[in-house]
């Protein structure tokens, strides 16, 4: 037990902080803001390729796979720093689908997809949810049917985020209609968005974040596109979601935002004189956020450490996801209160203030991950069952 960074980890943090400081040019920042923190623009792509060339994307990956051979803790430090810097990092591809492909992919995928993920050349969207299958994902209807050597894919997905600029969709399809349980008849495919049978329409959300409805019309792929074993897709889905959870609740952006608001409150004078930060209620809000973010940091690092040790615990992963997602909402509220009415003024307003307008938007996006990435009700079911051995109702 030693809850502090090693000197090497401290050095890595310092190095990365300087690296991203340089990488995040004002032009790139403007482009990322325009894209609602989702990325996908030309400067964003250029920066991702540069990170790939500089060997950062796979810093914690094994050397055999093209990584730098450090541990998941260093990988987490990298993602934390990049998110602190405000770069919309495509962590779904690099931190969740990528490792799943490296572990369970076939020869073609390992030769053609995995290396490109580490060079920043390949982006992958997640295609699970459908209009009729959300939390109860196992009821999904999109089908893949074998015809000769090919699979023919048909169906519709909902909320396929980032798909409009991704190269592939990591797609969950029904491959056995007669499976004794619905989740035993699901397989995973990598479907190219360049296929003429693929299309998408935008769905705009409260926070301005764009997601997509995606359509699959007689798309034909070979066994190269099948990931893992036939009808064994459910394990790949849950494995991907387990990995995704850690990235969803990364503590980097909140730490950065907190530091920014503290600095702002130090510099802000009240009309009646005195600094805003000397108000007791302001200090109380800031202290609550500070105490909460410390826990989030530790929860995240414990996960990264457990991944290094190969002891990632299901209940802990779910606890991290629930805590982080619900804490973020409280953060935006508490920091918004500190900045008063300015936290309702959007970044498009001429007199917007940097941190306040960020909170204006973040407050509108904060619900997504309480239900996305596996809804918190199911996470709590997992925690009480796997963490506390409490019996569950049968569904």
């Amino acid at each position: 037990m030693k809850v502090e960074f090693t000197p090497e980890q401290e050095a890595l943090r310092t190095e990365l902080r300087a690296y991203f400081n340089e990488l995040m040019t004002p032009e790139l920042r403007i482009e990322c803001d325009r894209d609602m923190g989702e990325g996908g623009g030309p400067l964003w792509r250029e920066a991702l390729l540069k990170m790939g060339r500089d060997g950062w994307i796979g810093v914690g990956w094994p050397k055999e796979l093209g990584g730098r051979g450090m541990s998941p803790i260093e990988q987490f430090i990298f993602v934390e720093e990049i998110m602190r810097a405000g770069y919309p990092f495509p962590f779904l591809t690099t931190e969740s689908v990528g490792p799943q492909l490296a572990e369970h992919g076939n020869e073609w995928q390992k030769a053609n997809i995995v290396p490109k993920i580490l060079t920043g050349e390949c982006l992958i969207a997640i295609g699970y949810s459908e209009p009729g299958a959300g939390t109860d994902l196992a009821r999904l209807k999109t089908t893949a049917v074998k015809e000769g050597d090919e699979w023919v894919i048909n169906g519709q997905k909902m909320w396929t985020s980032l798909a409009h600029f991704c190269d592939y969709v990591w797609l969950a399809c029904r491959t056995d209609q007669n499976a004794e349980k619905p989740h035993r008849g699901i397989s995973m495919f990598l479907v190219p968005t360049s296929d003429p049978g693929w299309s998408s329409t935008p769905v705009v959300t409260l926070g301005g974040v764009r997601t997509n409805a995606t359509y699959y019309d007689n798309i034909r792929v070979t066994d190269d596109a099948l990931v893992g074993e036939l009808n064994k897709g459910w394990k790949l889905i849950t494995g991907q979601l387990n990995r995704e959870r850690l990235s969803l609740v990364n503590c980097g952006p909140t730490q950065q935002l907190f530091n920014g608001v503290v600095k702002w409150a130090e510099e802000t004078e009240l009309p009646e004189g005195g600094r805003l930060i000397d108000q007791p209620w302001v200090q109380m809000n800031l202290a609550k956020v500070r105490a909460g973010v410390e826990a989030l940091k530790l929860v995240c690092y414990k996960q990264a450490w457990a991944m290094t040790e190969g002891t990632l615990d299901m209940a802990d992963a779910s606890a991290a996801k629930v805590y982080g997602s619900e804490f973020f909402i409280e953060v935006y509220r508490a920091l918004g209160e500190v900045m008063e009415q300015m936290s309702l003024v959007s970044e498009h307003s001429p007199n917007a203030e940097q941190h306040a307008s960020r909170v204006e938007r973040l407050y509108r996006t904060a619900s997504i991950i309480t239900f996305g990435g596996g809804t918190n009700e199911i996470q709590r079911d997992i925690i009480s069952a796997a963490g506390l051995w409490m019996p569950r109702a049968t569904r």
Partner: protein
Amino acid sequence: MNFGFSEEQRDVQNLARQIFTDLVSPETLKASDDYAAERFDEALWGKLAEAGLLGVAIDEAYGGMGFGFMELGLLVEEVGRSIAPAPVIPALVSGALPIQKFGSDEQKQRLLPGVVSGKTLLTAALMEKFNENPASPKLTSAVAKDGGYSVSGTKLCVPFAHRAERMIVSAKTEGGVVVLLVDPKAQGVTLNEMKVTTFEPQYEVVLKDVAVAADDVLAQADEGASVMQWLAECTTAALCTHQVGVTDCAMRMTASYTAERKQFGVPIATFQAVGHRAANCFIDVECLRLNAYQAVSRLANGLSATNEVQIAKIWAGDVGHRVSYASQHLHGGMGIDRDYPLWRYCTWMRHNEMMLGSSAKNLAALGKRVAAGEAYCQ
């Protein structure tokens, strides 16, 4: 970043858990309910001494195991898990650690071997009325006398003062805060019994011109405040790991109970509302655990820990409160029935919540540090 336990740490945990499992039970705890008997189990204390655990963080030179504060923190967690009637925090954390770190050779020789063998009990007088900061005593003062000091004032809620060989007392002087080792049997010391929620023996200690000899001065005015600050941080961090043990046990008791208890023909654990409230406890306890371990780990390694200790105490207060009420509620009436073991845990969750500063007080203190630019996220 290493969240794993070393072999030595596992040994300490297992040894302690074994002793407490063998010697502490609802039946033995019952003996001291409502102060019917003194809440101190001599046989248990002897067993801890025999196993070497009282010296877990004491140097080998004084007969101890020579491990550090991290290992002691893990022992304290086990005391919490069993709510054992063993004054490990007052004696080993607040009492022995500062003597080992700041004491003279003579003081260490005189007091530490007895601590390890179980013969000598130490304690510290950390609180005054409306003052929970021992680094800044308001109601106790000392003047130099005969190479030592004469000290007067009143301290509150001093655990085990009646059994202590020496109690650590901070007092203000013209030049700053001094730290003294006061003999509770010395002339001018009055111990007034207090009856508190946990039934722990605690005393109001009234000092009237108590003479403290030169060799019982632990720290002079130039460093007394920083000694007490360190002592307070160590004790607070220890209260947090105690809270980890108490809350973890109460939560797991609740999980087991709801898995067995049937209503509407099914275990009540299968109701989502019940499972989710227990899941909230799990998340809470994990957050507390990590913050408590971080505080202890930093103190053990000599790093600055003021922010981390305050944050851990905020969690200890909030989580103690929430787990206590969730556990009581999810048990229904059984949770508060004195023939069922949960209720005693609730009193200790409250003790750890309030001792040396509540969540509100620590939030205010942390907020001040934020405003002073001392608590940015690194």
